[in-house]
């Protein structure tokens, strides 16, 4: 057992931290206040090779491991979580190409994804379901030279301006996965949604009306792609759990900073036991979460089926993040719930994660089915 980061992991972590602290602060208000995605950030992230961290350099990736992916996600979300969420989607889509596309498609698409010349989005959720594959209504019908897709997808991150979408649809009664260029006739999106947190990650419905894709756009063959969904979600869950750790870390740092400077009864509130209690609880939960995330990433690097471990991680870390950010807010008193301090944004962002990539109920199901009996 060795709990230390390797030298390359540590170097990478430092590099991303430096990058995030230097480059991301100007985008905070654009994303959170204006609810707008700053496309200027894309070349910066691409230059740091942050869009394809665990992928083979042959396909444009950084050739690093999933622990490094988690480290990067933590550092980015400490400053601005929605940027990390945008990177996550790029990894989820890249990962589908990596696992399911032909060599030719990989060589064509993955470098463009890793350099963010093409932005991806991922479409499972629909108006009627976000977790039950049996209820998916989007259909794919095979014709002589193409598949024809019809349906509506809901809450799709990056959708308003994505170039390519991985879409789950029912083909001959079974779930299959397709990729669709978004400039194909029949593909449209609705206005983006205004939401509580993770603002600036543009979210909208996607409407598919007789969208025709070539036969080679069916990814990994017909049917049985519920597994592809669960598998796709492991990388997504790793990323978002790491984002929660970043939010918690930022909350703790903000709370300490505030408590050291806020004078009350002639001393900083940092000296009060009531504040010690809050900070200590925050720190304990942050550390537990961090190590769950590192371990989940490590297992993924070992090629071990990590569905259970990622479900455990996601279940624990996402609900913990809400508590930790709330306590951070409490330390700030009235300042904490005003727009004057950073902590309220961390809290709103944290809230969004509980139901992403499967609600907590789904995680419990995934866990229990994989417990030793």
């Amino acid at each position: 057992m060795d709990f230390n980061l390797t030298a390359p992991q540590e170097a990478f972590q430092k590099e991303v931290r430096k990058f995030a602290e230097a480059e991301l602060p100007p985008f905070v208000d654009i994303m959170d206040k204006e609810n707008r995605f700053p496309h200027e950030v894309r070349p910066k992230l691409a230059e740091m090779n942050l869009y394809g961290i665990p992928f083979d350099p042959k396909y444009g990736g950084a050739g690093a491991d999933h622990v490094s992916l988690a480290l990067a996600q933590i550092e980015i979300s400490k400053i601005l979580a929605p940027v990390a969420m945008h990177m996550q989607l790029q990894h989820v889509v890249g990962d589908r190409f990596n696992k399911l596309a032909t060599e030719e498609q990989k060589l064509e698409w993955m470098p463009q994804i890793c350099e963010a010349q093409k932005v991806g989005c991922f479409g499972f959720t629909e108006p009627d379901t976000g977790s039950n594959p049996k209820m998916i209504k989007t259909t794919a019908v095979e014709e002589a030279d193409c598949y024809v897709l019809n349906g509506t997808k809901r809450f799709i991150t990056n959708a308003p301006w994505a170039d390519v979408m991985c879409v789950f649809a029912k083909l001959e009664g079974d779930i299959s996965l397709f990729f669709v260029e978004t400039d194909r006739p029949g593909f449209s999106t609705t206005a983006k949604m205004e939401k509580l947190g993770l603002r600036g990650t543009d979210l909208s419905d996607v409407i598919l009306e007789d969208v025709r894709v070539p036969k080679d756009h069916l990814m990994g063959g017909k049917g049985g792609k519920f597994d592809a969904l669960k598998d796709a979600m492991t990388i997504g869950k790793l990323c978002l759990s790491a984002q929660c750790v970043g939010l918690m870390q930022a909350s703790l740092e903000e709370a300490i900073k505030y408590a050291m400077t806020r004078m009350h009864f002639d001393e900083p509130i940092y000296e009060l036991q009531a504040i010690h209690w809050l900070l200590a609880e925050m720190a304990s939960r942050l550390e537990a979460s961090r190590w769950l995330v590192y371990r989940a990433a490590f297992l993924k690097d070992q090629g071990i089926d990590s569905i259970k471990d990622l479900a455990i991680t996601k279940l624990f870390v996402t609900s913990t993040a809400v508590d930790v950010c709330r306590w951070g807010m409490q330390v700030h008193g009235a300042y904490g719930i005003s727009k004057e301090y950073k902590i309220e944004r961390l809290f709103r962002d944290a809230k969004m994660y509980e139901l992403l990539e499967g609600t907590s109920e789904i995680q419990r199901e995934l866990i229990v089915r994989r417990l030793p009996r």
Partner: protein, 395 residues
């Protein structure tokens, strides 16, 4: 012991509920809680309209002495706040009706009472509270806004913060320091009233977490206030603030608001199918709703007990702290439960995707107010420890 309401109480309570139900139908779209009153022009107009309706029925003077047009008892006031809380109907100025009026009854001179109570009773004059300062929150007695006496006026200079509704309110009740040399910081503070239109008063917005305009910072530059506007005695203002402890503090308005939220969530779970089954049949959801309902009824019982004790002048100071912490934390948990049950539809802002006009998205952010405002939960716990449990007093 008798937990049953008298027939008369039942009848009166029903009347409050009926009137509020009607008023709720006129609520502007997306109106929520305290922020709803102050954030938009429509919300403010609605607040004033409701106040007029209540004033006409004499419901802004419940529990007041008869000579000031009072009627009913503190119990009636509680029923009224249950009704406004349940329907999320404004109209009762928390500062004027709930805080200032009882303070004046307890501590003010006849002249002050005659001058200021009628416009509270008629719902025409709305108030704000200028107490907190950037460096005086929980440690309120550290406040430094100064008032220097010049003839029959005070000249006030300083800054107040978190002043809820100060951008709309007509008048303010403020705490200022009149004796900077007093031996204890609680001494030398004066409680006074002034018109928000007085020259030298500048109100700047501070946006709340959800982007709404609820509170403000208020700058006071050479603001001249007549000495006759002092409540109680000069330098005795701290004592005046302490009488606040004797007011209706059951939090039943907030508690009834939660009753309505649970009802809405239950309806939603009955109507919404996931995997072909109504959410109401999901064991996890059922148990969480049931747990919330238990907590809510515990809060409700505690709140009624406090009202009962208060109406006999028996309440200990920590009782109100207990119900405030309990119902405040419950409110935050309830908002959390709401967003979890509604899923992403509970996290988008008021739009065609949102449920309940985006109520839970907003409420999730507003549900913390009770945990910070009017004494943070940590301060309430200190009070419970000192007065309730007899633990040694600490800073």
């Amino acid at each position: 012991m008798d937990f049953k309401l008298t027939d008369e109480h039942v009848k009166l309570r029903k009347e409050f509920f009926n009137v509020c139900e009607e008023l709720a139908k006129k609520r502007p779209e997306g109106f929520t809680g305290l922020e709803g009153c102050y954030d938009t022009d429509e919300g403010w107009a609605y607040h004033l309209d409701c106040a007029k309706v209540f004033a006409k029925r004499g419901w802004l003077t419940l529990g007041w002495p008869e000579e000031y047009g009072g009627q009913g008892t503190i119990m009636d006031k509680v029923f009224m706040s249950e009704a406004t809380g349940y329907y999320d109907v404004p109209g009762v100025d928390i500062f004027g009706v709930d805080m200032l009026a009882p303070t004046l009854h307890a501590t003010a001179s006849q002249e002050i009472k005659r001058e200021f109570l009628p416009s509270i009773a008629s719902g025409e004059r709305m108030w704000c509270e200028l107490w907190s300062e950037p460096n005086a929150g929980s440690d309120l007695a550290a406040l430094s806004t100064s008032a220097v006496r010049q003839g029959d006026e005070y000249v006030i200079n300083g800054q107040k913060i978190w002043s809820t509704g100060a951008h709309r309110a007509h008048w303010a009740f403020a705490l200022v320091r009149t004796d900077p040399n007093a031996d204890r910081k609680q001494k030398g503070i004066t409680f006074l009233l002034f018109d928000m239109k007085t020259p030298g008063v500048t109100v700047n917005p501070i946006l709340y977490m959800d982007g709404g305009h609820l509170y403000n910072e208020v700058f006071l530059d050479d603001v001249r206030v007549p000495v006759k506007n002092v409540v109680g005695e000069e330098n005795q203002g701290w004592g005046v603030t302490q009488t606040l402890a004797a007011f209706e503090r059951s939090n039943l308005g907030a508690i009834m608001g939660m009753h309505r939220q649970i009802e809405e969530l239950v309806n939603y779970c009955n109507e919404t199918k996931v995997k072909g089954e109504p959410l109401a049949k999901n064991p996890l959801i059922r148990s969480r709703l049931a747990k919330a309902a238990c907590d809510l009824w515990a809060a409700h019982a505690l709140a009624y007990r406090i009202v009962d004790a208060q109406s006999r002048n028996e309440m200990a100071a920590f009782d109100a702290s207990a119900v405030k912490v309990f119902s405040g934390e419950l409110q935050a948990r309830m908002a959390q439960l709401g967003t979890e049950i509604l899923g992403p539809y509970g996290q988008v802002k008021h739009s065609r995707w949102a449920l309940f006009e985006g109520f839970f998205e907003k409420w999730y952010q507003q549900s913390f107010i009770l945990n910070v405002a009017m004494g943070t939960n940590e301060i309430q716990r200190n009070i419970i420890s000192w007065y309730g449990l007899g633990l040694p007093r600490m800073k």
